[in-house]
């Protein structure tokens, strides 16, 4: 693992909380690693497992799903559905040889811009430890 390895994080962020928190981090002029690439979702419960797998196949080193705190979901309980899917995905990813720590599900409220920045920071350094993900281009039977 070379020292100048820069991991790529694909982030699927809920429009109502973590995406707004990312916005807030920006307007608050907080700095966080540029390694994160954000895809806006309406709800963390909308994140299809195949989006996560697709991201790994396209060469991302980690996936970050951001949802509302339990009980605060804009759509009543989408974040709970996301939690179940992520639990399943952790199982599946293990079988594909992907460390389960490459997929993070975190609750970040709309007002927690600093928490978004901290989470990205933490995840980036964790992925640096893990090194590049070797999934890119692999065909899945």
């Amino acid at each position: 693992m070379s020292k100048d390895f820069e991991p790529t994080i694909t982030a699927f962020l809920c429009n109502w909380c973590t995406f707004t928190a990312a916005d807030l981090a920006g307007t608050s002029r907080l700095s966080y690693p540029a390694n994160v690439k954000i895809i806006r979702m309406m709800c963390s419960g909308m994140v299809d497992p195949k989006f996560v797998l697709k991201a790994f196949l396209e060469g991302t080193d980690g996936v970050f799903i951001g949802g509302c705190w339990p009980g605060d979901c804009h759509y009543i309980n989408g974040n709970m559905k996301a939690r179940r899917r992520v639990a399943l995905l952790h199982e599946v990813l293990g079988r594909f040889g992907v460390d389960r720590d490459r997929l993070w599900l975190r609750w970040v409220a709309a007002s927690e811009g600093n928490m978004f920045a901290e989470t990205v920071e933490e995840m980036t350094s964790r992925l640096m430890e893990l090194g590049p993900c070797e999934m890119k281009g692999k065909k899945v039977a």
């Binding site: 790529t8 694909t10 109502w16 909380c17 540029a34 690439k37 895809i39 979702m41 309406m42 709800c43 419960g45 909308m46 994140v47 299809d48 497992p49 195949k50 989006f51 697709k54 991201a55 396209e58 060469g59 991302t60 009980g71 605060d72 804009h74 759509y75 009543i76 309980n77 989408g78 559905k81 996301a82 899917r85 409220a109 709309a110 007002s111 927690e112």
Partner: protein, 600 residues
């Protein structure tokens, strides 16, 4: 209904009425000391005697216990009656010469001094207290003991009573005001502080909350009401002439269908009690901003006079202060409490300074301890200049300590405010008589639950979060729910009015449009792909998906769907998808973001 004659005047009264009640109904004056309409007649004081002329046992009889029977004729003001009353009063006055109610009554009846050896008893043995305790409170914790000249009101064996609830009903009826009810029982008295008067005054268990209350009717405090807690008392019900007291009333939950909601739940005021250096709760004359407002208010405990609180009695106010310190930013702009500025304090602190000069005289010394003066509004800076011209002293430095430890003569018996004057870089000690704490506005304690109920979010400061700080300041992420006032952040009255009107306008705009615009991001299920497994139906939090049993596919009701994508995230066949978030679009986004050389 019996017909009787009082002072030659025929009167028809209800069955069971006493002569005293009948006479009082006719506005005929009969003096009493032991009579109380809420209690059973006692016939103890003998001041209410009348002379029976016909229809009963002739002679003097106590009218409070004399039932009106057909043909009874009495006289309330005969010479014999008057003589008897004077003698009774003289005897009572000899026992208790210092009791004001007795002295006033004696004067009225022309009794000057008692011819008998004077004692000095404060209790006149009217027995109202013991009847109140036994009949109405159901406790019978006190009684009259001994005989003759040694009669005394006390608890059994003069010991602390186990059954006394320290409710204070005995003291409330005592005409001589001689009962120290807190000495009777084991339970400490629990004063009922008036919420409206910030605890500067007491209230009853049944009271009208405040003068402008709508509807202006009394409410019963269910925690304090003796009737609701023990089944006893019920005095309010028996004395209410309109028969309006209903002990069965309970809170109701009413469902109201509305098109939009304006959340205007307001704020809480920071409680400065835990901030020990300021001495709130320890020093009687360290008061909060709202307490000052109540003192200054014409309907407040002092009728609008700004007075110092008595050192011994927290409900008593004595004289205007000669010097006052107003401490700004108590809990605001403070990393230990709230980082934000409460916005209103600078201006109301100046108002207080002005009011003190106005009401307590120009000699009153007023000191403002501030961090920065934030006089940002229209006419605010001008007001600051005016108040300074009135001689109010401004000290730039947040007060650190309020103490009663005097270092020299000037500080003796005063509250000393210690602060660093940052303009002269010196520690100053300012002795004053009253300290006003300008406490922070904070989010209501139940703000998170309210936010959850309405699907809105709470910011890091605890206040509700608007959808966008500049472009949607009254909106929330939930369509049709708007914010107004200090629930969204500390603000003064003009700002609150402006925001409330904006919220009302937004709500009306929704109603008058007659139709609702929904976001285009809603789910659709491709009937050619759907296999009718119906899992999406169970997942949908809005029950927006139904099965079309004829075609065997699930169908989305587009009016109900909010576009959360729970169905799309799960659909095993890929038939359900959210517009603008289709697999194709997201895949393209992922590919684009992760393409070689992409900068994201």
């Amino acid at each position: 209904m019996p017909s009787i004659i009082i002072n030659d005047q025929p009167v028809i009264v209800a069955e069971g009425t006493t002569v005293l009640e009948a006479a009082r109904e006719q506005k005929i004056e009969i003096p009493t000391l032991c009579y109380n309409p809420a209690l059973e007649p006692y016939g103890g004081c003998r001041l209410c005697v009348v002379e029976v002329e016909a229809g009963g046992r002739p002679g003097l009889q106590a009218s409070c216990t004399l039932r009106a029977t057909e043909g009874l004729a009495v006289r309330t003001d005969s010479e014999r009656v008057k003589r008897s009353r004077r003698l009774t009063l003289e005897l009572m006055l000899a026992r208790s010469p210092e009791v004001p109610v007795l002295r006033a009554m004696a004067r009225e009846h022309g009794v000057k001094d008692a011819r008998f050896a004077a004692e000095n008893e404060s209790c006149i043995l009217c027995g109202q207290c013991i009847r109140m305790c036994a009949e109405r409170m159901g406790a019978a914790a006190i009684g009259i003991f001994n005989r003759g000249a040694n009669r005394v009101v006390s608890t059994p064996f003069d010991d602390l009573s186990d059954v006394c609830r320290t409710c204070g009903a005995c003291a409330s009826v005592c005409p001589a005001d001689c009962i120290d009810f807190e000495t009777y029982g084991r339970h400490p008295a629990q004063p009922l502080n008036s919420e409206w008067n910030e605890g500067l005054r007491l209230r009853k268990a049944i009271s009208i909350p405040f003068q402008q209350a709508i509807p202006k009717v009394p409410v019963i405090d269910p925690d304090a009401c003796v009737h609701l807690n023990t089944g006893a008392c019920g005095i309010c019900s028996s004395v209410c002439v309109a028969d309006a007291i209903d002990y069965e009333q309970a809170d109701e939950i009413v469902d109201v269908n509305v098109g939009s909601i304006i959340v205007a739940t307001g704020f809480d005021v920071l409680d400065p009690t835990p901030m020990e250096p300021f001495g709130y709760g320890r020093f009687p004359n360290v008061i909060t901003n709202l307490e000052f407002e109540r003192l200054s208010n014409a309907t407040g405990p002092t009728s609008g006079k700004l007075l110092l609180r008595d050192d011994q009695d927290r409900y008593k106010f004595t004289r205007p202060p000669e010097s006052v310190a107003i401490l700004h930013c108590i809990g605001s702009r403070d990393v230990n409490y709230h980082e934000y500025c409460s916005r209103t304090c600078c201006m109301y602190a100046l108002k207080y300074a002005h009011l003190l000069k106005d009401k307590c005289g120009h000699d009153t010394e007023v000191f403002n301890f501030y961090i920065d003066m934030r006089c940002f509004g229209k006419g605010y800076e001008e007001f600051l200049n005016r108040v300074q011209a009135e001689g109010v002293r401004m000290i730039r430095g947040k007060a650190a300590l309020v103490t009663d430890e005097a270092l020299d003569e000037d500080e003796e018996g005063k509250l000393v405010v210690v602060a660093e004057d940052t303009l002269t870089a010196q520690i100053v000690r300012v002795p004053v008589e009253m300290v006003v704490l300008c406490t922070a506005m904070e989010a209501r304690a139940n703000a998170p639950e309210v936010a959850r109920t309405f699907g809105i979010s709470v910011g890091s400061d605890g206040f509700f979060l608007e959808e966008h700080p500049k472009l949607a300041p009254v909106n929330t992420p939930t369509a049709g729910v708007f914010l107004a006032g200090a629930c969204q952040g500390p603000k003064d009255i003009p700002d609150t009015v402006a925001q409330a009107k904006a919220a009302a306008a937004e709500a009306l705009a929704l109603s008058s449009a007659g139709h609702v615009t929904v976001a285009p991001m809603i789910s659709g299920i491709d009937p050619d792909i759907c296999i009718g497994c119906q899992v999406c139906i169970g997942l949908c939090p809005y029950s927006a998906i139904e099965i079309d049993s004829r075609r065997g596919v699930s169908v989305v009701n587009t009016a109900l769907c909010k576009g959360c994508g729970s169905c799309a995230g799960w659909c095993p066949s890929g038939a359900a998808k959210v517009e603008h978030f289709t697999d194709k679009q997201i895949f393209a986004e992922i590919e684009g973001l992760l393409a070689e050389g992409s900068e994201g």
